[in-house]
Each structure stands twice: as C-alpha cells, then as structure tokens.
Amino acid sequence: MNGARVEFRGLRRTFGTAVALDGLDLTVEPGELIALLGPSGCGKTTALRCVAGFERPDAGAVLVDGDDITRVPANRRDAGMVFQSYSLFPNLNARDNVAFGMRVRKAPAAKRHARAAELLELVGLPTHGDRYPHQLSGGQQQRVALARALALEPRVLLLDEPLSALDAKVRVTLREEIRRLQLSLGITTIFVTHDQEEALSIADHVAVLKEGRLEQSGPPAEIYDRPATPFVAEFVGTMNHLPGRLSGDEVEVIGQRLPVQGHTPGATDVDVLVRPETVLVTPAEDGEALVVTSSFRGSSVRLLLRLDDGTEILADLPGHDATRLAPGGRAGIRLVERPVLVAPRTAAPVEVLTAAE
C-alpha cells in the first residue's frame, strides 16, 4: 500500500477580506478517495492547493503521514496534481510531459521514456506519446495530465476539478477510469468537484464544504440519505421543501405522519425535506395534485405537481410509469415511510426548489 494519510488541522486562509478556509479539520485515510464537494467559493480548491503547496495557510497545518508539510516548498512535496484544464506544457509532446518530473530529476532518457510509455499505457493512450497537447482532445489531455501526476509515484494524488471542462460523456468514462486506476494503485486521492453526482459516484468518502468549513463527511450513501444539515441536503441531490407541522418526534406533511431525523428546530411550522424519488405518484381522477409539467430523462421522468394549496412538489418515477401522467391530469401523492429531515420554514419554498434544480 503506497497511500499516505492526509490530515487538515484547523486550516485557515483568507484572501483580503474573503475567507476561503475557516478552520478546516479533515482526515483522509491511506488509500482512500475523498471528494471535496461544495459550491464555488467554499474553499475546496484552496484546501487542495494547501496540500500541493501552492497556497500557504494563514493558520493550521497539513500533515502527511503525521509529518507537518505546511512549510515544505511545492516542488519538494510528494503529491501529484491534475489541474482543471490546459495544464500540459504546450511545447512538449505527451511523452515528454509525462516524463517532465523525471527530467527535472535528471533521470536517464531511456528510463524516462520507458516509464512515460508505461504510464501512457496505464491511462489508455499507448500510441499518443508523440502528440502535442494541441493535437489531443480535452479528455486525452486530462489523461496525459493524470499520467504526469502519477509519474513520480506520489503518495497523494490531487485532482482539481479535472473533468469539469469535458463533455458529459467523456466525463463519465474518465471518472470511472480514474476510480479504477486509483483502486489498483491504492493511492490516497483528494478529488475536488462541485458536481455532486461525480462526487457520489466515485468517492469512498464525500466531504461537503461550506464557507471554508466542513459541513459533513461520510460515505456517499450516508451523505445522500442522511444529510446532517439542510445545506448538505440541499446541495447533494434535489430536495422538495414541503410545509409540515411538528408534533413530538413526528411531523405531519401532506396528510401523512413521518418520523423526524436529526434535531428539530424550535418552531412547529417547518419545511420537510423530501427527495423527489421518495414521492410516490399514482394517476387518479380525484387525486389531490395537478401534473404541471413532465420532463423525460431517459430512464426516469421528473414531474412537477401542484397541490390545491399551491405547494409544488417534484417527483421522480421510472419512465414507463409516467405515460399515464400527462400534464394537466390529476394524481394522488404519497411519501415513502421513512425518517425525514426538517428545517426552519423558508419564506419562499418554490424559489429554493428551483435553485436546487
């Protein structure tokens, strides 16, 4: 196992008046792939750059296998990094890009080339060694960048939104390859992304950041199913905000009583957070909801429904179930019986809904 343990301890970094990191504490276990997830400006990239050595924290420390590396210059760190885009050296072909670190370390040319060929093979570009960056597609460039980051056998791999500049399809295949490679090499990997689907699909752990602080960290399923805070619930996946009324440790929402998970706000009038896929919709002439729109997404269909009191609800259901739920029709609604998260009532639930979209 050649992965290292990475620890962030009370990391703080400000840029002028903007606080990028506000006391971040997080531990990444050896060989684990952790995704730092959050909206732009939440400090996730700054945290990554503190590991790479491009940013120096104002306070706190970064530890790799227990050693404080905060003051180590960037070019002496044992961490390979893949940047968002266009980071390949334009004057070098793919092979020389990959071999750059070995050239800097004065490795003999034969050894460099052998290692570069090996790495290009590993990232699926065995025949592209002679191509220059401008002759490679965006996905190929990122593969070369990945090979270059791995060339010096670092103990930590840092990925700074490496897929965000790529086409949707390439993004999915490449992220799966990154995961496969990471598992086979057993390298500790920190993956920064603002795409929650990306984070959930490949990470061992997801750490959600908000305003420079850790909001929640846990396995993807836990983050999705049991978000610790309304922010996490909102940011990861889509959430309905339905008006509810607390009574004891249960909440009453559209005619159902559901157990409440996590802590409850003081007020009795609350927003109940419900995932679209936990809304069960059945066609019914006398149903309580009106189907407003229906958008087809291939395997599933997302319906926007409106209750008679004006509450709007999003519901996801399998594509073939939705054929009888055309816009304008009526439907009955039930929620899956499971604990739900509640939040203080927001003034304009509809707006939040669209924002979550």
Partner: protein
C-alpha cells in the same frame, strides 16, 4: 544585470512568513522598473531643461515662445495634419470594406490580404522612396508629351503633395490592418451582420450603425497609429523634397538648437494629446453599452 539574476535562482529556502511569492522577486521587479523609468524619462526631462535653461539668462521660456511665430511653422504643421487626415480617410476607406469582405464572404482572400498588408513592413521606407523618386523622374524624362505628365506633376503639388498621402497609406497599411483585424476578431462580425440583416437592416445601416460602433476602439487605434506615422514621417517627405512638420523641424534646427528641441517636445506632446483623445474614444466604447 546582476540585479536580475535572482529570478532564475531556484526557490531553495522559501521565506517562512510571506504567503505567496517570495520577496526577492519583488526586488528585481523594482530595480527593473526604476532603471526603465530613469532611461525613458531622462531624455524627456533633459530636453525640457535644455529648452528652458539659457546659459546667459538662466530660466526662460523663450524657446517655446519662438515656435509659433517661426517662419513656416503653421504652414508645415497644417500640411502634416492635412496629410494625416487624408491618409486616415483613404486608408480606412480602402481597408475596412476589404476586411469586412474577407470576414463575411471571401475568406479565401484572407492570405492575399495578409501578404498585401505585410509587404510594406518588409520594404523599408527609404527603399520605397527610392522607387517612388525613380518613378517620378519618369515624368519629365518619358511622359512629358502624355497626359500622365499632368498627373505626375499634380500629385507633386508642394502645397498638398498627394504623392505623400499615397506613400503614407502604403506605409500605414500593416498597422491599420492589424488594428482592425484584432478589432474585428473581438466581435463576431458574421453573426452581428446576420442578426442585423435578419431584422431588416440595409447594408449601409449595417455598416454604419452596427459594425462601425462596435469597431470603435479598433478604428481609434488604427487612426492613432496612422496619425503618429504621418506626423513623424520624415524619410519620404525629406527625400521627395516636401516640407511637412517633421522636415521643418530639421530645417529650423540649424538656426536655433533650443527651439528645435522645444519643437520636438511640442510635437511629442501633440502626439500624446491626440493619443489621449483617441484612447478615450476607445475606452468609452469598451466600458460603454
């Protein structure tokens, strides 16, 4: 040069307390900027001192006072400005339609345009004027009995030598081409034109209401470069025997050294003033609607 070497030294011991770039880098930057400022300001300051410091009287502004009444001053300056205006009008009238055509309907002309507009860079003005003077000598030698003779004589009329406009247009082509090309590159001409035509605009309307307003900064820099070129153009005018402002300065320099330097400063300030006017036109457009 020793002060510049730190940039290339490896960053061995990064200072512990400075986040971001090491302090050393800032030192060489400061040194470079100070040396540059000295080098570039010294002649300007020294020239000014030269003009106001009379060995016998001390401080005096006489040199500047002598400029305006000097023989030929107004005449040559007006000639230069007239040539500049004519050159700007002609060069824009020639290049703008051609460049729009290249962008809109004849992309295959692009290499031709590029070659045509780069050629004058390859040909130093002095060789150009050598060619022109040879042609002009044909006038009396071969063409005396033909109508061409009248033309050749007419373009050499000393009160407004058209031949200088022709030469200046050729010399300005590369600069105008590049300024307009970057201006046109910054906007999507094709889409703009198609959108305007789609809204029912006529061609003149498209050119004058859509393209030119969007191209203002490109046109401004093209005009400025041409203006600076014509005002400073000495080689062609001098060797063809005309006397615009730049040649006049040399003619008066023999008589009064302080005044000729004063005129130089005056012409520099004039250029700056014009640049300022043109660049405000450009910036207002950029920050505008």
């Amino acid at each position: 040069m020793a002060a510049l070497t730190p940039t290339v030294l490896p960053d061995v011991s990064a200072p512990a307390h400075v986040p971001g770039r090491p302090r050393r880098v800032r030192v060489w930057r400061g040194v470079v900027l100070v040396v540059a400022a000295l080098y570039f300001l010294a002649p300007l300051l020294a020239s000014f001192i030269f003009t106001v410091n009379d060995p016998t009287q001390g401080f005096t502004l006489d040199a500047y006072g002598e400029i305006f009444p000097a023989d030929g001053f107004a005449q040559s300056l007006l000639l230069s400005l007239g040539l500049a205006v004519a050159t700007i009008v002609v060069v824009l009238a020639l290049t703008l339609p051609a460049m729009l055509a290249v962008r809109l309907s004849a992309p295959r002309l692009r290499p031709v345009m590029e070659v045509v507009c780069t050629l004058p860079l390859v040909v130093p003005p002095i060789t150009f004027v050598a060619g022109i003077s040879t042609v002009l000598r044909w006038g009396p030698d071969y063409l005396a009995t033909t109508p061409f003779y009248q033309t050749v004589m007419a373009i050499q009329n000393p009160s407004f030598p058209v031949v200088l406009v022709i030469a200046d247009v050729v010399l300005a082509l590369p600069f105008v081409y590049r300024a307009l090309d970057s201006g046109l590159g910054a906007m999507d001409v094709r889409t703009l034109v198609e959108a305007a035509r789609n809204c029912g605009a006529s061609w003149p309307h498209v050119v004058f209401r859509v393209i030119i307003p969007n191209l203002k900064s490109g046109l401004a820099s093209a005009s400025f470069l041409t203006l600076a070129l014509v005002l400073g153009e000495y080689t062609v005018a001098r060797l063809l025997g005309f006397q615009p402002f730049s040649v006049w300065i040399v003619t008066v320099s023999g008589a009064n050294a302080a005044m000729s330097v004063a005129v130089s400063i005056f012409s520099l300030l004039l250029t700056w003033l014009l640049l300022l006017i043109l660049s405000t036109v450009g910036t207002r457009q950029r920050s505008g609607p």
